[in-house]
Symmetry: C2
Subunit: 141 residues, 2 copies
DNA sequence: ACCATACTTGACTAATCGGATCAACTTTCT
DNA sequence: AGAAAGTTGATCCGATTAGTCAAGTATGGT
């Protein structure tokens, strides 16, 4: 499981937006980068992806920024990871389709499915709430 | 879950060796590459790693090759993947250790732990046996 | 003894990817 | 008008992966 910085940053940003959803003014990119130490224009690039996915809404002009466009409870970490991260773990069957090859593929698929299941059952709302509490949380395997 | 070709090839080679363990003569690299379409000298590089890990034994000279050095039932896919693949998913705590950061890290860790659990409970013996079955089936087609 | 076979070692190249940056432009608030 | 923000597209760098080469060494068969 590679936790590409891209996905990590995206999640951080979304948590920030989720926590500040009650505010009426949108949150500026600058603020998020300062808060979480995310390299400036890189976050912009990520937010662009999130926008075209429909998770966030951008407000231009002065006093502009970003705002969450969906319910945090409806957004799972899996969706975030897949939208922003690697371009789909393409499980195309190789040309050399020996039985050994198939077996190995099956195991890899099972493993990746297991980790995806964990991400699929964690919502943004959940992780944002826990962040707010500052609580130590146990995630069961 | 990235299934680096390195790990994939390593597993394929080990399956081959496991299946031919009863033979007295070691298996030549050339043969393995032909069977599974693995690029020649790349497999050598991988086998070197497997050797220094102690999983396989090399026999030099003519009639030489590789031979499994452990019981297939004692070797899990997790061990293989970690020995040959990425250099440990280094989960170093970032300098900016905000609560959000910690939360996100916890989820990633849980996810990666889930997939590792799958690999940890699959042994080489198991996957080799299943491959053998598949081979038998193919024989009749 | 000799030669073909096969592993050993170490360095080396090529392509891809993730991370990050820049510059020029548009929109909106005051 | 001017400052503050986001928008877009091009680009760059460094690390990692995949894959290669060549010179060397050991072994078995004849």
């Amino acid at each position: 499981m590679t936790i590409s910085a891209r996905v990590h940053y995206a999640t951080l940003a979304l948590i920030e937006l989720a926590l500040r959803q009650p505010e009426k003014t949108p949150v500026a990119v600058r603020e998020i980068t300062r808060r979480h130490g995310i390299p400036g224009p890189f976050l912009v690039q990520i937010l662009r992806t999130l926008r075209s996915a429909g998770w966030v809404q951008s407000v231009r002009g002065s006093q502009g920024g970003y705002r969450l466009a969906v319910e945090p409870a409806d957004l799972t970490l899996l969706e975030i990871a897949e939208a922003v991260g690697c371009p789909e773990s393409n499980c195309q069957t190789d040309a050399t389709d020996t039985p050994a090859n198939q077996m190995v593929h099956e195991v890899w698929d099972a493993a990746s499915e297991a980790s995806r299941a964990v991400l699929a059952r964690t919502t943004l709302a959940e992780i944002a709430a826990r962040t707010a509490e500052g609580d130590a949380v146990m995630f069961y395997i």
